[in-house]
Symmetry: C2
């Protein structure tokens, strides 16, 4: 099916929006009138520009408050409309959107509405334009899609059809089943938007909080199935009003938008994408750093040993249990300290996983970094993290290990079993797209998001996981652009005995993150502990949580660059990530930073 996007969904000038839509692979655009008015391009310029970019102008949006008004008012509206139809001829746009009136002058008279829309369609037809009439959820008298359709049907005009908009239909809780009663050829256009399920004023909800399909709570795919059942063969078009998208780079937003449409098309059986290949484990986490020493000291204190080095690059492999950490000091490293740059995901079919990611517009990375390297399938996630798909042939060495030669040292044995989870800080307000990426591209399951109070602002966190929990990624985003030294990425290491691991870490010279004594007084109030248990936690800086399934104990290292480590012990099927303790951890990190200035 053809895909389209409304210019209002993207940030920037009209030319920036058109370029971004074309680069993301859209077939067409809806041009929102304000974008044209503010552009120095003439309508003819825009027409040529779109043609050069391979974009069709699927819809033009200038018309409001047209119908069911007194005759003198309608005459003014018709005059205005004729101007716009002439403009559309110059622009090469064949369909105009008319939203149901919100004017206080509009009367509740379907016959009058049908008659006036019919006259509007007469005028439109003279300019080769057709009119798509849509019910706004907050329309004065017409606010449901079936009502708009009854008026269109009553008008019976060949140049008049209806436009369906998933937001206006689903936000009102209308049953989309009735869409199938509309003949497909009378559905002139289909606009799609999702939205988080917020109990708020529908106009505000619509204008500020829409999102791309799959990012919110509506069953957009279900609605599309009903529309397709009518024989509709127009484009799927995204019309998303969103405060964040308005101020984000148009290029990445357009890519996210088109990815959401591809996933939607897959869901309704209209896009033959390569199927998802779920990752089965974490092969490695790769840290890049300008200076390996602080990380080497930290990994050493955690009980890792440097078991191998890359044959051609300054990359060391540190191992313990199934936890494998690459430390890369190569030339591509930025000077701002250590950071988590790549994740190796074990995959039953790396090439197929990469094909799906590529089909879903993830940038594909070169398969070999150097001629002598083993080929690796890799893509970039929206936050820039590189995802490598690795043959999951544990306990044999996976393919990527062939690029490393052993140092002769055995893996460490200090009680770390593997990587429990990885936490990735997302760029400001690019949270929903990250969750959709990990869900749609990797096939991971997204859990509910939780608010976490940092002393300097509210954060949100959401985990994506595979079924057995062997791949867990926590996506975190701040409430505002903030200092990412504190909102750092981290690697959580799994252990069966966090007390022993924490003690070993400290005895090996590691610096645990100090936890305030008040936290332990509160634990004493909330839970009953065995003799000495709480004192042990207090001594080692171990945090504690409990859910319906089990117990979670965890502690943290200091931060190196933008990365820190966590030691975690999950017992009895505890499912969370200790979010209740995050405010204490964040405050402690701020306090350390205030002391050390780093």
């Amino acid at each position: 099916m053809r895909t389209s996007i409304a210019t209002v969904s993207l940030s920037g000038s009209l030319t920036e929006k058109l370029d971004a839509a074309a680069r993301a692979g859209f077939d067409g655009v809806e041009i929102f009138e304000n974008d044209l008015l503010a552009s120095p391009l003439t309508p003819e310029d825009v027409r040529v520009r779109c043609a050069d970019l391979g974009l069709r102008i699927d819809l033009y949006q200038p018309m409001r408050d047209i119908e069911a008004v007194p005759e003198a008012e309608f005459a003014r509206n018709l005059r205005r409309a004729r101007h716009k139809f002439e403009l559309m001829r110059r622009l090469g746009a064949a369909t105009v959107l008319v939203c149901s009136s919100v004017s206080p002058q509009a009367v509740d008279d379907d016959a009058l509405a049908a008659e006036q829309l019919s006259r509007l369609a007469d005028a439109a037809r003279e300019s080769g334009v057709r009119v798509a009439y849509e019910a706004l959820a907050w329309g004065r008298h017409v606010s449901t899609y079936d009502h708009a359709w009854r008026i269109v049907e009553a008008a019976g005009h060949p140049a008049l059809g209806t436009c369906l908009d998933s937001f206006h239909i689903l936000s009102r809780g209308s049953d989309p089943q009735g869409i199938e009663d509309i003949p497909g050829e009378k559905i002139f256009f289909l606009q799609l938007a999702d939205a988080p399920l917020l109990a708020m004023d529908v106009l505000q909800w619509s204008r500020h909080y829409r999102c791309f399909p799959g990012q919110g709570g509506f069953d957009v795919a279900g609605l599309v199935r009903h529309v397709l059942a009518t024989g509709y063969d127009g484009p799927l078009s995204l019309e998303v009003f969103n405060d964040v998208f308005r101020q984000s780079e148009a290029g990445p937003t357009a890519v996210d938008a088109r990815r959401s449409l591809l996933l939607l098309q897959e869901e309704v059986g209209k896009a033959p994408l390569p199927g998802p290949v779920l990752p089965t484990g974490v092969a490695f986490a790769e840290l890049v750093t300008p200076d390996a020493e602080p990380l080497a000291a930290l990994l050493g204190a955690l009980g890792f040993t440097r078991t191998a080095r890359h044959r051609g690059k300054p990359v060391g492999l540190w191992e313990q249990g199934d936890a494998r950490i690459l430390v890369n000091t190569g030339p591509a490293v930025r000077r701002d300290g250590a950071r988590l740059a790549a994740i190796g995901l074990e995959s039953p079919d790396p090439a197929a996983a990469a094909r799906r990611a590529e089909a879903l517009l993830a940038p594909v990375l070169p398969r070999r970094r150097a001629p002598e390297d083993a080929p690796l399938d890799a893509v970039a996630a929206p936050d820039g993290t590189e995802l490598f798909f690795c043959a999951g042939d544990r306990p044999e060495r996976p393919g990527w290990r062939a690029d490393f030669e052993d140092t002769g040292r055995p893996p460490g044995q200090a009680g770390i079993r593997g990587i429990d989870h990885l936490a990735l800080t997302q760029p400001w307000h690019h949270f929903d797209e990250a969750a959709l990426f990990h869900r749609g591209v990797l096939g991971l399951h997204a859990q509910e998001s939780v608010d976490v109070a940092d002393p300097y602002g509210l954060m949100r966190s959401r985990a994506v996981t595979n079924a057995d929990g062997s791949v867990r990624i926590a996506l975190t985003v701040g409430a505002a652009p903030t200092d990412d030294t504190v909102h750092a990425q981290h690697i959580a290491l799994a252990t069966d005995d966090v007390v022993a691991a924490a003690r070993r870490f400290r005895d090996a010279g590691g610096s645990p993150l100090p936890v305030p004594a008040n936290y332990y007084d509160d634990l004493a109030a909330r839970f009953e502990f065995a003799d000495g248990e709480l004192e042990t936690y207090r001594d080692l800086g171990i945090l504690y949580d409990r859910d319906a399934h089990g117990v979670f104990r965890h502690c943290y290292t200091r931060t190196v660059g933008r990365v820190f480590f966590e030691l975690v012990q999950r017992d009895g099927g505890y499912r969370g990530y200790g979010a209740v303790n995050a405010p204490v951890r964040l405050a402690a990190q701020h306090a350390v930073r205030a002391l050390t200035g780093g």
Copy 2:
């Protein structure tokens, strides 16, 4: 009355919050448990710190989901509570807040609730603590203040009273009249918060969108009057959960908070503040710039002449009609280009205006900048703009003029009558506090705020004015921290003939902001014009708007540094600021900037 603030209303560590509250002049704080848990200070440290700062700990907030639960659960709760009462003894906090339960275990049984709260109060009394029970708006069984009071009354325990919270009462639309049925000595605490009138889920509304009294839509003063009528003599305490305040500097937020309480006390007759002295006109606008030449060229093209120079400083006075612009190239000027640094407001009583501003915590600026200068009363607005209160003795020269000596040139005569309005860009998300400042401190009237679509993000704008419109200030804020070269401040100059003024400007070598041709095609569709009228507007870059009262015509200069000028003609009582044209203006400014790189 004593004033207090909850630590959750401020950003930062506990010590930062306490310092900010004390500096702003609060008498006490409510300590939110998480702030204490995350602090490295012991409870005794916090007690000493508060005493040193002159702060009383008016409330401690650790208790949730206590009452009306099965006995085994209550026993656990009581155990937890005893820990907290002991903590409060160490902290020196005498009152604990208990919110009505949201636990799924809670049962709908007022007698049980009263009995368990009574036992809780017994335990509290042993530690010298009293319990304030509050109805959460989303409490499971107890969600209204009168219900909470009935339970407290039934318990009849001397250490058990109720806590009233304006948000929980007013968000549910409860009638606060009934508060007067509660004996004042049983109201143990009063928490105040305002909120914008949003139709949204009350829990989300409460957790993210509360604001300080006077910044939202609730009648907080009306509620306080009912509380005072009971004889309540505890503190007025602010408990505001707000995503923005969480990430703003604690110091300024605390000042805004206390200012809002002072204004509230004034409203209920409890704070004898110096009364407002409304400004009667704009005496001058002062621009600072590292390089006077570009501004001199621009002012010259607009028809201003440099009529005077400051006797002691590099400040020139440019005049035309009643518009007076100071151009300051003094040493305090930052290197980032011209900006609007100060506004002279004509005032019938400058000293009294300054006294009110000072009483409302506006920083007072030195009365003389140099020993030889005439004394001037001046304060800083929250955005840093200096506000000078000038003797409003027009048409005689106001006092500040005495510091200037004439150049011998007469004021310009190119059709500018005076300053129509000044537009000030506010720091990100400090919009409501700015409106409250201008309203409360200066006595201006705040109009409704409007959304304006910039190509790169949504902006909000709100005007504050005096009754006759001779002082109009438009406060504008972006949806995110954005480039303020584009979101610049501006000075709008009033003319009775914008066509002549614009033509004169162009003929004098001025560069008007170019307006796209598409804008005029749209005007032609929307309005009917006399022959040649639209062509004139198109030729001169004049924008057009109409409201129920009259017509507005306006055009813009290019931006110099961070300032630009607007020429405006208001006819027939037009009241707005041409907001409908703002997207076109903003896009044109972006386009100019993209071309010039500046």
